[in-house]
Amino acid sequence: MIRALTTRRTEMAPFLLLLPAIATMLFVVALPLVFSLWTSLTPYKLTKPDTLYDFIWFRNYIRIFADWDFWEAFLRTIAFLTVAINLEFALGLGIALLINKITWGQRGLRTIMMFPMMFSPILVGFQFKFLFNDHIGVVNNALQSLGLTDQAIPWLVDANLAMFSITLAEVWMSTSVFAILLLAGLFAMPRDPLEAARVDGCNPWQVFRHITLPFLMPFAYIAMAIRSLDVARAYDLVAVMTDGGPAGRTELLWTLIARTGYDEAKMGQANAMAYISTILSVLFTWHFYRKLVAARRYMGGAE
């Protein structure tokens, strides 16, 4: 009898310890998401509170799916993330391999690499807005002083260049997540298989492709998983650098949500878009989390 009671108590302990965490997430995230789902099924406008109780089924969703502006922002967001994350992975891998080769000052270099990770995205946005300003920006000043161009290049005013500048800022900000975790992977790597492969006559490329890279993949997936938790912080960059302009050519899903919801006060429609962006982010995180678990199992759960 006593034993049954104590086992029940130890069974309850982990749930009790997790209760505050679960309660917080339910109140601040899950409950608002339910509210958001309801709102997305109404024509709610902040200026007309009564419209919150006016149920219109999926009309908001039908409207945004028929709206080319939405699809343009949606596809631009997907393209932006694909380009940015692949670049970050490739550059991060390159940087990790480079620093792994260096024998002096490794720790100092690693510390410097952590700094962009800790920068506020809004600050990164401002920093590049400052550097890329067409009149006073240091990039144009340098190009003009060196005589490479005699005209000011409109980095943030021309549509294509603006998207390029935003991607650059994003890559600058997030490459270090990959570099640092892949470097940690390289440090943790056992030497024996590398030497064995070399003795067996593998060339450096084969060693990298068949030994180093598979060993690094779990670390890459940690980086991807961490990165996927806040992909939406690119919103901050765009908000300060171009605010979706010129003429909506750098509009991402997130800036479109803010514009529709707050500037145009169409809360119902904005919530419908927000739901789509939430599903997108959740799927993204879920995908990389599963990859991480699979890679971990492949490695036998331990190093």
Partner: protein
């Protein structure tokens, strides 16, 4: 003979290439930030100069004095109160998130229970909801509860933003401590609670501090939610305040740079202190299942 000379030369070339690549890398990493820092100490007229002034002629703290409202020229942006708001909000939400996170992380590290993996994944997926998407319903709810434009409103949101990742990190730190230690203490007559405070907590302390720094910086840097949930000096934080400078017709670049420096400095110092533990926590929690 010639072979060895050649290989020595190519080794030398490789070394130079390596050095050059590292130098370029550090240049790209550091120069953008350093340029902003340098500009914070220069007068606006030098920043705006055409042709550009490359070597600063005068460096001063005038821009910092201006944004904090000292001296003759008042900028009219209450950076002082933004700073206090940021500090109060980030510190409070970090402390609460750490308490919740230590409990949750310990639970994941030390117990086996049903739905463990599911609950962990669930927490992570809740964290993945984009800030701007979450801001819409939270804004509507908070305005009904009277929490818009209050520090409390933002603190509650930031706690939930930080809990999942704090749990991820602290779970990793606790799992690095052998379970045998606390079991031995329990055999010697400690309760589990005592064993936790006397053995496991002191060992995980630096890791918990690293998780705390990460949580602090997340709150300190957050913009998407803060920009919608704050209105006035009662609750506006530094990242939101930075946009005050661009709302005007002419951008006060020097003032913005000075404010950027104020936002960066705590981040750099804290990162520098905990970087070792943070990397260990990120990799350990993720790689060992």
């Amino acid at each position: 003979m010639t072979v060895s000379v050649e290989s020595r030369a190519s080794k030398q070339a490789k070394k130079v290439a390596l050095w050059l690549a590292t130098f370029l890398l550090m240049l790209v990493m550091c120069v953008p930030g350093l340029w902003v820092v340098l500009s914070a100490f220069r007068p606006n007229r030098e920043i705006l100069a055409k042709p550009p002034v490359w070597v600063p002629e005068e460096l001063s703290l005038v821009n910092f004095g201006k944004i904090f409202g000292f001296g003759a020229e008042q900028v009219g942006i209450p950076v002082g109160s933004y700073f206090t708001n940021s500090l109060i909000i980030a510190l409070t939400s970090t402390v609460i998130a750490l308490i919740i996170g230590v409990a949750g992380g310990y639970s994941f590290a030390r117990y086996r229970f049903r739905f463990k993996g599911g609950i962990f994944l669930g927490l992570m997926l809740f964290r993945a909801v984009p800030g701007i998407a979450l801001s819409l319903p939270v804004f509507m709810m908070w305005s009904r509860l009277g929490l818009v434009d209050t520090k409390l409103g933002l603190i509650i949101v930031y706690v939930s933003l930080n809990v999942p990742f704090t749990i991820w990190l602290i779970d990793g730190f606790f799992r690095q401590i052998p379970q045998a230690l606390s079991e031995a203490a329990q055999v010697d007559g400690c309760t589990r609670w005592q064993a936790f405070w006397k053995i496991e907590f002191p060992l995980a302390k630096s890791g918990i501090a690293a998780a705390g720094v990460f949580a602090f910086l997340t709150s300190w840097n957050e913009f998407a939610l803060a920009s919608q949930l704050t209105r006035s000096t009662d609750s506006k934080t530094l990242p939101v305040g930075l946009l005050d400078f661009t709302a005007q017709f002419t951008i006060d670049w020097a003032g913005m740079c000075a404010m950027a420096v104020i936002i960066i400095i705590p981040a750099l110092i804290l990162t520098f202190i905990v970087q070792k533990h943070l990397i260990a926590g990120l990799t350990f929690g993720g790689v060992k299942g």
